[in-house]
């Protein structure tokens, strides 16, 4: 794995993400500044981490999606390279058009930080192969705008093609409004593009990878990536 973590002004979970990548893969990722125009040579995974890029004073992720480095990210995705967007990163890659739909204010109109349960709906991806199909995992969320919306056609397409990768659920795997922290359509917590190389998700697997965090359920996501990518030289 040769990972690059993007750093925009106002991003604040880049360190959490870098630590998680290093802990699981054994290799420190490159930290790439938003004004750069190229990814480091050989990058096989781009991670867009969480935070409040540019303060998110405009539509969340809208400014970062137009930063110079994003052209290189789009080209990387076009080549089939892996892209993971988490939280603000999900918002950014959605704004950049790498994924369909949009993330709007939580239905509660409040920021929410809590541990939720997720159902792994598709383990046939480079990001989720280390989970079991239908596995219910714990994972923290921390966002004010995680309510996934898209037009009916897009939602139907995502569902039909198995591109909803994570869904909010209760501890038994049951999908219900009470278990949906932000009002997302169809309880969608994470989706993947048609080609299967760009994943966006609101929850933070990087914050549940060691005993201190109270659980390890975020770890298989990184294990999956390590398995999918060649060992770094």
């Amino acid at each position: 794995m040769k990972a690059a973590v993007l750093v925009f002004p106002g991003i604040n979970r880049e360190t959490d993400m870098a630590k998680a990548l290093a802990a699981v893969s054994g290799v420190k990722p490159a930290m790439v500044w938003h004004t750069d125009t190229d990814l480091p040579a050989g990058t096989d995974l781009v991670v867009v981490p969480g935070g409040f890029s540019y303060g998110d004073y405009l539509r969340c992720g809208a400014i970062a999606a137009r930063a110079p480095i994003m052209r290189a990210v789009a080209a990387h995705a076009e080549r089939g390279g892996l892209v993971l967007g988490v939280c603000n990163g999900f918002q950014i890659i959605t704004e950049a058009g790498l994924l369909p739909g949009a993330l709007v204010r939580n239905a509660s109109m409040k920021f929410i930080c809590k541990e939720v349960n997720l159902k792994v709906e598709n383990r046939e991806t480079a990001f989720t192969s280390a989970y079991r199909h239908g596995q219910v995992i714990r994972c923290p969320v921390a966002h004010g705008e995680g309510n996934y919306v898209a037009d009916d056609g897009t939602i139907a397409e995502l569902e039909a093609e198995g591109r909803v990768v994570f869904r909010y659920c209760d501890p038994t795997g049951h999908i219900s409004p009470a278990a949906n922290p932000n009002g997302s359509t169809n309880a969608i917590a994470g989706i993947i593009n048609a080609r299967g190389n760009v994943l966006g998700m609101m929850p933070h697997p990087e914050n549940l990878i060691e005993a201190l965090h109270g659980g390890l359920d975020g770890r298989p996501l990184f294990d999956s990536l390590v398995a999918a990518l060649p060992k770094a030289a």
Binding site: P9, G10, N12, R13, T15, D16, K19, A20, G51, F52, Y54, G55, D56, Y57, K110, F111, I112, C113, K114, P140, A142, G144, H204, E206, N207, A211, L212, H213
Partner: protein, 734 residues
């Protein structure tokens, strides 16, 4: 536009919060009538908020040193050695007045200000806490203020990227006209890379960094040094507006700049903005300072010297830089897209000179503005001692009924609605989340942990300021000990009413003396803090509220104890003596409708012995389940442990003390422990042998909580009752 040479009338002096004798002092000091800008500068520096003129005499008596203390009060934050070349840097500060006028912005800028204090010293913030006090829930303003303050704290900390790991929230009618928003920030730095505000060297550039200066917050510190009346809405323009995005950039740029070796001295612009930061840097270094306001980056054209000197626009810093490293410093700030401007230089004149458009707008003696500001010895009277209330004076209610009622009250119910709006997980080091006795944050890259707790019981302080002051420190000590952290130092945020009233000053003096005595007895020095006076509206003062932020250190976060009962069928041990003290208890308030009598006394020697004993057990890895006893006593403590662990428990009645006093008395110096029976028996034997009261009082098991002979309650029901009030209250129409 305001002219600088307007005649200084008594009305103008009064509107700047200066008393006639203080104005006379200004005249005597400079030998002429001040200009308008000068009057503004004096008002900014000599107000209560910046000068501590009523409190300084007493603050000087507090214990501020210890073997671990690197920097005590007087800097931007306190600095305490945690070993291995690292220091913890922390402070708590109030933003009470602005938060009442404009809750969201008041709270955000409170958080922003305290974070800046911490990273100004070179520390990366690793945790925030807050102590919040609101009026009674039914007061028409309360819900609006709670909603705005909580959203504001979250809005700033979440975006800035620091976990908000805990705090306190209370309601009381005495905060109807003045809420309290006390924010605490904790950071980490290497002990050899700490930065201070004392300027050194003549002719060095004074550099302005960060956001531009606007017209927000003009006169904020003066506003915060006065009581409120019915015209409070008119004060809205004195509240600053926060921008956490800029603060995050300022943090990264400041820490990056510090690595270049360019920084001689640094001071953030907080209360009284440019005035206070410039004067403090010069006065501390025994230097003069000359500012050229033409160079100050402004948000809008046409700002006067008066406005620039008094603006409290946020996310700004002032630094004295090494001239040969100026270019490197500027490059760092440009990279982060922040303003960088040389706005003056240091002099050897001990004068504070402000120029604008080539004119001298102010020329004042710097020492008298800063560290030699007025100091008062305000008259004070001690509060009358209140009688001790016996158990027989408080009605006996069925224990199960009482518990169900108490854990669902506004003051005692779960604060989940609040802390779920705070990102408490970012940075990945949160070992103990909100809801326990103290938050625990791992020191990045080590096994060590920092315990952090916010405590004070204002009704105790009102009833007996001295005992209440002691209790606030003792409870912080106890909460840290309960998670296994050695209490190492304290920051205090002393919130009181109008100090010109002898009884209010008496509350202040009593609390300070109680705090001091407890800090000495517990080796728990005060390293930073803040005083907020004039928390009064139409003559009604808040409860005396000396909020304490305690910080503790543990060698191994994996040994940390939590309050949650564990799946095993363990025995429950009570450490400490129980008399059944109901005076000033939550039980008395709920079931007698009174807050009367003397508060529970604190025996500092036993407090220390019990704390050391419990900490020792945790450090040895012998126990993992501990809870301190405080509001609501034994019944509430065991209920909280049961709810947290989703486990039932049974606690026997005492046999000697009346049930309601035994289960709800608020005797101090107590802990509950759950441990396997053999361990529990050994713990009790060791405690008793060491002169510490201890007994096995119950056991863990099942799905119900049973106290004495009262009916058993399903823990799941208790959980529901505990969680219900806050979201229900906040979801009702405003």
């Amino acid at each position: 536009m305001l002219r600088n040479d307007v005649p200084i009338t008594p009305e103008l002096v009064k509107s700047h919060g200066l008393k006639p004798d203080e104005y006379q002092r200004i005249l005597d000091l400079i030998g002429r009538e001040p200009t308008l800008t000068e009057l503004g500068i004096f008002s900014a520096m000599w107000n209560e908020h910046c000068s501590y003129k009523s409190s300084k005499k007493w603050l000087k008596t507090m214990p501020v040193s210890g073997p671990r203390v690197i920097q005590g009060p007087g800097e931007n934050a306190g600095v305490v050695d945690i070993g291995d070349g690292q220091a913890v840097i922390f402070k708590m500060e109030s933003h009470n007045h602005p938060s009442y006028i404009e809750p969201y912005q008041g709270a955000t800028t409170g958080v922003g200000g305290i974070l800046r204090d911490v990273f100004t010293m070179g520390a990366r913030p690793v945790a925030c806490m807050n102590a919040l006090r609101f009026g009674e829930p039914d007061h028409p303003k309360t819900k609006h203020i709670v909603s705005g303050v909580v959203a504001g704290i979250g809005g700033y900390g979440n975006s800035f990227g620091v976990p908000t790991v805990g705090g306190e929230v209370n309601f009381h009618p005495r905060y109807n006209g003045n809420c309290l928003v006390n924010a605490m920030a904790v950071g980490l730095a290497d002990t050899d890379k700490i930065f201070y505000s004392k300027a050194e060297g003549v002719g060095l550039p004074v550099v302005y960094l960060g956001s531009k200066t606007g017209r927000d917050g003009v006169g904020g510190a003066t506003m915060a040094s006065a009581e409120f009346d019915d015209k409070i809405e008119e004060k809205r323009p004195t509240v600053q507006v926060g921008d956490p995005f800029s603060e995050k950039l300022l943090l990264e740029a400041t820490l990056e700049l510090m690595k270049t070796g360019a920084v001689v001295a640094i001071q953030d612009m907080g209360a009284a903005g440019l005035t206070c930061s410039a004067v403090e840097m010069g006065a501390k270094g025994d230097l003069g300072l000359e500012l050229n306001l033409d160079a100050v980056p402004c948000r809008e054209p046409g700002m006067t010297a008066y406005e620039m000197m008094l603006s409290e626009s946020q996310e700004r810093m002032l630094m004295v830089l090494h001239p040969d490293k100026r270019a490197a410093a500027e490059a760092v700030f440009r990279k982060w897209g922040l303003d960088f401007a040389v706005v003056g230089y240091t002099t050897d004149t001990l004068r504070f000179v402000v120029k604008h458009h080539g004119e001298v707008m102010a020329d004042l003696p710097i020492k008298e503005l800063g560290d030699q500001a007025p100091e008062y010895d305000r008259p004070w009277v001690a509060a009358a001692k209140r009688p001790v209330i016996g158990a027989g004076d408080v009605p006996a209610v069925d224990i199960a009924d009482a518990l169900e009622k108490i854990i669902a009250t506004p003051d005692m119910c779960s604060r989940r609605w609040v802390w779920e709006q705070y990102d408490h997980l970012i940075q990945g080091n949160t070992a103990q989340r909100p809801g326990g006795d103290a938050a625990v944050v791992r020191v990045e890259g080590t096994r060590k942990g920092l315990g952090i707790s916010c405590d004070v019981t204002p009704r105790y302080c009102e009833a007996d300021p001295f005992e209440g002051g002691k209790q606030a420190i003792a409870e912080a000590y106890r909460n840290l000990s309960a998670v296994g952290a050695l209490p190492i130092a304290v920051t205090d945020n002393l919130n009181f009413g109008n100090p010109e009233k002898p009884e209010i000053m008496g509350q202040f003096v009593g609390c300070v003396q109680g705090i001091s005595q407890a800090c000495i007895a517990l080796d728990f020095p005060i390293v930073s803090g803040n005083v907020s006076l004039y928390n009064e509206t139409n003559g009604q003062a808040i409860l005396p509220t000396p909020a304490i932020g305690g910080v503790g250190l543990m060698a191994d976060v994996e040994q940390m104890a939590t309050i949650a009962l564990k799946p095993a069928d363990e025995a429950i041990v009570l450490i400490g003596a129980t008399e059944g003290w109901l005076g000033q208890s939550i039980y008395q308030r709920e079931f007698a409708g009174r807050e009367e009598g003397a508060p529970p006394p604190v025996d500092l020697a036993s407090e220390r012995r019990h704390g050391e004993f419990v900490r020792g057990l945790i450090e040895q890895g012998r126990i993992a389940t501990v809870h301190d006893l405080s509001d609501g006593g034994l019944a509430v403590a065991v209920a909280e442990m049961a709810i947290a662990g989703k486990r039932g428990a049974r606690v026997e009645a005492s046999g000697q003390i009346a049930d309601h006093a035994y289960f709800f008395g608020e005797d101090q110096g107590r802990y509950l422990i759950a441990a396997p029976r053999a361990v529990a028996e050994a713990v009790v034997a060791e405690a008793v042998a060491g002169g510490i009261p201890a007994a096995i009082i119950g056991s863990v098991g099942g799905s119900e909580l049973q106290l004495g002979a009262s009916r058993a309650i399903l823990v799941s029901k208790l959980h529901h009752q505990h969680e219900a009030w806050f979201p229900a209250y906040m979801s009702q129409e405003l």
